[in-house]
Subunit: 142 residues, 2 copies
């Protein structure tokens, strides 16, 4: 019985903010369904060439009060990048808090607008340690 | 700046129960790290041939009281299967509640031992409607 992973789905409060966040990471909308009857939208986003593993965003047009402000239960989404410093700089320049800076040139954590934890990992060997990252403190948790 | 999806991580309370659940679905352990110092284990599980999209289970040996009993914020993991009836029967025979039975021959939802929602989708066209599924009621939510 063959099994194939399809996607991870996240419920979001503010679709525009969330799509902007994933856009900053490098994901683009690859598929979308707006359901007038159910008053919800499903948006699938993935990086170019990575369409097999999208994240699905579920947005209820009339809000979703059941969403916790933080969810430790759900761990994180993880993405690999070719230049973790460039990506973190790009995120920071656009107002994203780097909760766990890539001090080691290898790993960082940020949060989506809904506080979903997103792990970033350097492709291949860790980059040489470099400022401002090497001496940057953690902010909050992730 | 290329980006590659790596995994979705879930924190679990009971590693044995959770691995048994994902085993029932058809996932196997593909990579594992037991950290004596940090007293945690990371277990990556994937279906055969689907190793690019694993789920990562994080298990803290001394428990994790921060886990909510339910997490609406996190949506679900989704898997495609070649025979949704056979898979649901297999799960049910092993004590898994089918929260949303595949009445339509296409879609079902179950929960992991930590109440993580897991969506199952039939590969290709929906199967012809069939009992006991067609008249099976929902149980709880997902």
């Amino acid at each position: 019985m063959s099994l194939k992973y399809l996607h991870t789905m996240l419920r979001v409060q503010d679709l525009d903010k969330t799509m902007a966040f994933f856009n900053l990471l490098g994901l683009r909308e690859i598929r979308r369904r707006d359901d007038d009857g159910g008053r919800f939208s499903l948006i699938f986003m993935a990086a170019e060439g990575d369409e097999d593993c999208p994240v699905e965003l579920t947005w209820n047009w009339d809000g979703d009060t059941g969403l916790p402000s933080d969810s430790r239960h759900f761990g994180h989404l993880a993405y690999r990048t070719d230049d973790i410093y460039a990506l973190c700089q790009h995120l920071m320049d656009n107002g994203v808090t780097i909760n766990r800076p890539p001090r080691d040139g290898n790993m960082a954590f940020v949060r989506s607008p809904d506080n979903v934890s997103v792990e970033l990992l350097q492709n291949g060997d860790a980059l040489p340690k470099a400022e401002p990252w090497a001496s940057m403190e953690n902010i909050g948790h992730w």
